[in-house]
């Protein structure tokens, strides 16, 4: 026979909670806005590293924002950041899968081919930038391009672990939550990513 506590809890669950006051909803929305404003540029750059195309990266980031606000706004705010990155990474992987399918399909058709990353070749990419850049800035840009290229060559899970831990500063538990895997897996992916990047970038850096 269920105890009184059980029945009481069941009643509380069965009963519909009162709608949150307007002020609480507004405060929640403001808090979410602050978090997203804080991470949106970094999230965009992470998506751009994986996808290269800025428009695709922007779409994926906006979609992740919308899903977080629509489906998880009522979760504790401490969970928002890992949840956001989980949604973002799912969006990136989904877009990469669609690109892969489109690339296989396009290979059967006549006409201009795509580059190995699955993006159409833009003739303007081969035109040199007329604005002179400072040598230091040029070196940094080149180093970043090499880093991005190396990150793109990593397996998706290793890239994800490296970027979340190293770029975004999530701890192991948060990264595991964002990746939907165990903390041990995060450590393994991260360690392998660092090892591979050292091998590839060691000579240049």
């Amino acid at each position: 026979m269920p105890s009184f506590d059980t029945l009481n809890t069941a009643w509380m669950v069965w009963d519909d909670p009162a709608p949150a006051p307007e002020e609480a909803v507004l405060e929640q929305s403001r808090e979410l806005d602050r978090l997203l404003a804080e991470i949106e540029r970094r999230a965009f750059r992470m998506a751009q590293v994986a996808l290269r195309d800025p428009d695709d990266a922007l779409d994926v980031v906006q979609d992740a924002m919308l899903k977080l606000a629509r489906n998880y706004a009522k979760k504790p705010s401490a969970e928002w950041r890992p949840l956001f990155y989980r949604i973002l990474e799912n969006g990136i992987l989904d877009l990469q899968r669609r690109r892969s399918v489109r690339k296989r399909f396009m290979a059967w058709l006549p006409g201009p081919k795509e580059d190995p990353e699955g993006e159409a070749l833009d003739p303007l990419d081969s035109v040199a930038d007329s604005a002179p850049a400072a040598p230091e800035r040029m070196m940094q840009d080149q180093a970043m391009q090499k880093l991005e290229a190396s990150l793109r060559e990593l397996p998706a899970r290793q890239r994800e672990a490296f970027m979340l831990r190293n770029f975004e500063g999530l701890d192991v538990a948060e990264t595991a939550s964002a990746m939907g895997c165990s903390q041990g897996s995060v450590k393994t992916h991260y360690s392998r990513a660092v090892h591979t990047l050292r091998e590839r970038l060691g000579e240049v850096w």
Binding site: L32, F44, R45, Q62, R70, A73, N166
Partner: protein
């Protein structure tokens, strides 16, 4: 000397800081659009949201109404039957031979008869 992690993080941070204003603006617009859309969808869900106990209240109200109609209907039937019975009684009284004009004439005849019988009984010699 910076480690790979430190160097890569510094480069990444710098690339974030160097995002052009156009992209920053697009990101801000995207954020506002996402929050607005989520807010609209939440309000729509709120309007459509129905308390969990609503079906129970509906069933109870339907049961009460059904019982009321059942007994109310029977009560009405009873009143109608009574009314009908009363009308039938009135009709019987109005149309019965005892209440009719013919009956009154017969009653008048009977009075004459009873008067004749009374005289006849008084004049008849005792046996």
């Amino acid at each position: 000397m910076a480690t790979l992690e430190e160097r890569s993080r510094a480069l990444f941070d710098e690339s974030v800081d160097n995002l052009d204003m156009a992209m920053r603006s697009r990101l801000t617009q995207a954020r506002h659009a996402a929050l607005d859309a989520a807010g609209r969808s939440g309000r729509r869900r709120g309007m459509l949201r129905m308390p969990l106990w609503t079906p129970a209240v509906g069933v109870t109200a339907a049961a009460v109404l059904g019982v009321a109609l059942w007994f109310g209907g029977h009560g009405h039937h009873g009143v109608a039957a009574d009314s009908q019975s009363s009308f039938e009684d009135l009709d019987i009284v109005a149309s019965s031979e005892e209440g009719s004009g013919d009956a009154m004439e017969m009653l008048q005849d009977d009075i004459d008869f009873y008067g004749w019988a009374d005289k006849a009984a008084g004049s008849e010699p005792a046996a």
